[in-house]
């Protein structure tokens, strides 16, 4: 995945940290007012987890884009294109194409059959308890890995954008970001979180759009001239050709295939993305959400192509790599070059807002999964009212918030960039096969679901643990040790087919037969929307 780490301990030279903080403070103030206004109707579980299912497709699509375009996509992909050229662009394409899986196979059917969480769908026609526990486990695992990566990234971003380089200062900022996130999710629930994501998506896409037009205007709207200048500044014509990053060895080529597989199949199985489909009133609106998300995300990655090569041409890879924050500084440095401290301030604030919005989305997903799946349906066996469930969800938010602050502080300066790749690999291995099988394969059984989910989860984690990202390489998390027997940094190419195979094997070996009437109910509901959860009417 993208290196979103390694803080160089130098003072930040560009921009005005106070201006950056003021603009970010303004964002916090505006969103807080909106969250407080939105929280008035947070009474039931449907309000708290699914915003009363009252968002429109376009609003939800914008929020999905806000949820999905993390700081790693914005800063990381711009930097990757500036430094590795074509390979950075290649990487961004998987993130977009993946949405077709969500559009064609998952979004509408899921909206029609579930209530709040992924586990609702997976346990619909199988044995509730074991399947729900397994689905909640994989949900929590994905959220945890992703959350830790985001919080650790926040530390690196602080050094880059606010000029706070000492450990204590960064820890304070991580704590502030975590506390704000807790406040948004606690008070605003899904409605508040969604509004934060919508505002952030608009700012991010608008900011990237303005910078894109600006860069293109400098080159007379001639993409070829921009590319030529980027290659000239880098002094390397290979910048425009594939291979700079992924083509260095046969292993790295194969690794990229594994990564591409996890990206394209993992996106539609990320629990925080799946949960967003429940915030709209109907499957048709869920479809509309994905369509909006595809347009916005696609446009955004086209902007990053221009911004990345623009940063390469106007700033140069050497200057970017030497700056605090390394590759992640490409977009902020470009903003400073174009629009001075003010544009840098806006872009920095957007980057912060990005972390805030993404962690908020992950936290509410994890809290909903714990409160709804583990507490309400497994521990209390459904014998709890929705107020009681929301109370537990709110407490879970507090716990997750505190844990992620601690994790973010602990992970400072650690190379944990692989956690994002791991989150996608776990989603693609542990979640997607079971989602697809339970929606489309009549005979699919409880044993198949359990084998596939735990097998996929275990395979992805074990392979990562024994891969070069954890040990046996200079850039590894534990560079001093070497227990890496798995050569690839991305486990997807093994763990995803394995999970599909285990789902099939578990089913054909399963002696017990699932209830055919439940299967019929799920199939009819998923395609027609009969009896689907309705919007809450306030």
């Amino acid at each position: 995945m993208l290196p979103f780490t390694t803080v160089t301990q130098e003072p930040t030279q560009v921009g005005e940290p106070w201006l950056n903080m003021t603009i970010f403070g303004l964002f916090v103030a505006v969103t807080m007012v909106i969250v407080l206004r939105a929280s008035r109707n947070n009474k039931t579980a449907a309000d708290y987890y699914a915003a009363g299912r009252s968002f429109t497709g376009s609003q939800n699509g914008t929020a999905i884009a806000g949820d999905y375009l993390s700081a790693a996509s914005f800063l990381g992909i711009c930097g990757a294109i500036a430094i590795n050229g074509y390979d950075g662009f290649l990487y961004s394409i998987g993130f977009l194409v993946a949405w077709l899986v969500a559009l064609l196979l998952v979004a509408e059917l899921l909206r029609n059959t579930g209530k709040f969480t992924m586990a609702d769908v997976l346990s619909f026609r199988l044995k509730q308890r074991p399947v729900r526990i397994a689905a909640a486990t994989t949900t929590l695992a994905v959220c945890f890995f992703y959350l830790l990566a985001q919080m650790a990234g926040a530390g690196a971003l602080v050094s880059l954008l606010l000029g706070i380089d000492d450990r204590l200062g960064q820890s304070i900022v991580i704590t502030v970001v975590g506390a704000l996130m807790i406040l948004y999710v606690l008070v605003g629930g899904m409605k508040g979180t969604t509004w934060v994501q919508i505002i952030k998506a608009c700012l991010l896409i608008a900011g990237a759009f303005i910078m894109t037009i600006w860069v293109l205007a400098l080159y007379g709207f001639n993409l070829s001239a921009l590319l030529g200048d980027a290659a000239a500044t880098a002094g390397n014509p290979e910048l425009l050709n594939p291979g700079l990053q992924y083509g260095v060895s046969e292993t790295s080529k194969f690794d990229f295939i594994s990564l591409a597989l996890a990206l394209v199949l993992g996106t539609a199985a990320l629990p925080h993305v799946l949960m967003r489909f429940y915030t709209v009133p109907t499957a048709k609106e869920a479809r509309r959400s994905v369509v909006w998300a595809i347009w916005l995300i696609g446009a955004f990655y086209l902007f990053t192509l221009v911004l990345g090569y623009g940063a390469g041409a106007l700033i140069g890879p050497e200057a970017i790599e030497a700056a605090p924050g390394g590759v992640n500084s490409a977009a902020p440095l470009l903003a400073f070059h174009l629009g001075g401290p003010l544009l840098l301030g806006v872009i920095s604030a957007v980057a912060f807002a990005t972390i805030l919005a993404v962690v908020a989305g992950l936290t509410i997903t994890a809290a909903a999964s714990f409160a709804h799946d583990i507490y309400a349906n497994v521990v209390r066996k459904g014998q709890v009212d929705s107020q009681g469930e929301v109370k537990v969800a709110r407490r879970t938010v507090l716990v997750i918030g505190v844990l992620s602050i601690a994790g973010g502080i602990g992970a400072q300066g650690q190379n944990v960039a692989f956690l994002v790749a791991l989150a996608f690999a776990v989603a693609a291995s542990a979640n997607l096969p079971t989602i697809i099988y339970s929606l489309f394969w009549k005979k699919f059984s409880t044993q198949g679901a359990i084998w596939s989910m735990y097998g996929g989860l275990a395979a992805a984690i074990i392979l990562i643990a024994f891969s070069p990202v954890v040990s046996g390489a200079e850039t590894a998390m534990i560079p001093g040790a070497d227990f890496a027997w798995f050569p690839l940094k991305n486990p997807g190419i093994i763990s995803i087919p394995l999970a599909f195979f285990l789902g099939w094997l578990g089913t054909v070996l399963d002696k017990s037969v699932e209830d055919p009437s439940k299967q019929a109910e799920m199939e009819v509901r998923s395609l027609t929307g009969v009896g689907a959860e309705k919007a809450v009417d306030h």
Partner: protein, 122 residues
């Protein structure tokens, strides 16, 4: 979920879904849905992995300049965007025309059959 249907939220608790599953209009809906989404999913996955393999292993081909500094790799990459947008629009128009009318017909039939208007909050 299925196990805890609250009566006012679920007007279809008494529907015999196995019977509905056998109805010709439902089998037609299922056929239309699957005959679109499965081939389309296979097509875009093959096209995407073809692109990934070319970018990974055919550096010479991808580096051929087409127009100025724009090479085959960039053109194919941008075509991935174009195909993603095109499939999205194609699916939406197909679903609007071929899937939604049947789906809403079955839904209205089932939701009005036993308990009229129950659970409709808007």
């Amino acid at each position: 979920m299925g196990q805890q249907p609250s009566p006012e939220a679920d007007p279809t608790a008494t529907v015999d879904f196995q019977e509905v599953q056998q109805r010709p209009e439902f089998t037609e809906l299922k056929r239309r849905h699957r005959s679109f989404v499965f081939p389309m999913a296979a097509a875009f996955l093959i096209w995407y992995f073809l692109y990934v393999l070319l970018a990974d292993y055919a550096h010479g081909f991808m580096s051929i300049k087409v127009l100025g500094n724009i090479n085959v790799g960039l053109v194919l990459g941008l075509l991935q965007f174009v195909s993603t947008f095109a499939i999205t629009m194609w699916y939406v128009s197909y679903a609007n025309k071929k899937l939604d009318p049947i789906a809403s017909g079955i839904r209205q039939d089932l939701e009005s059959a036993d308990r009229p208007q129950a659970g409709e909050t808007h």
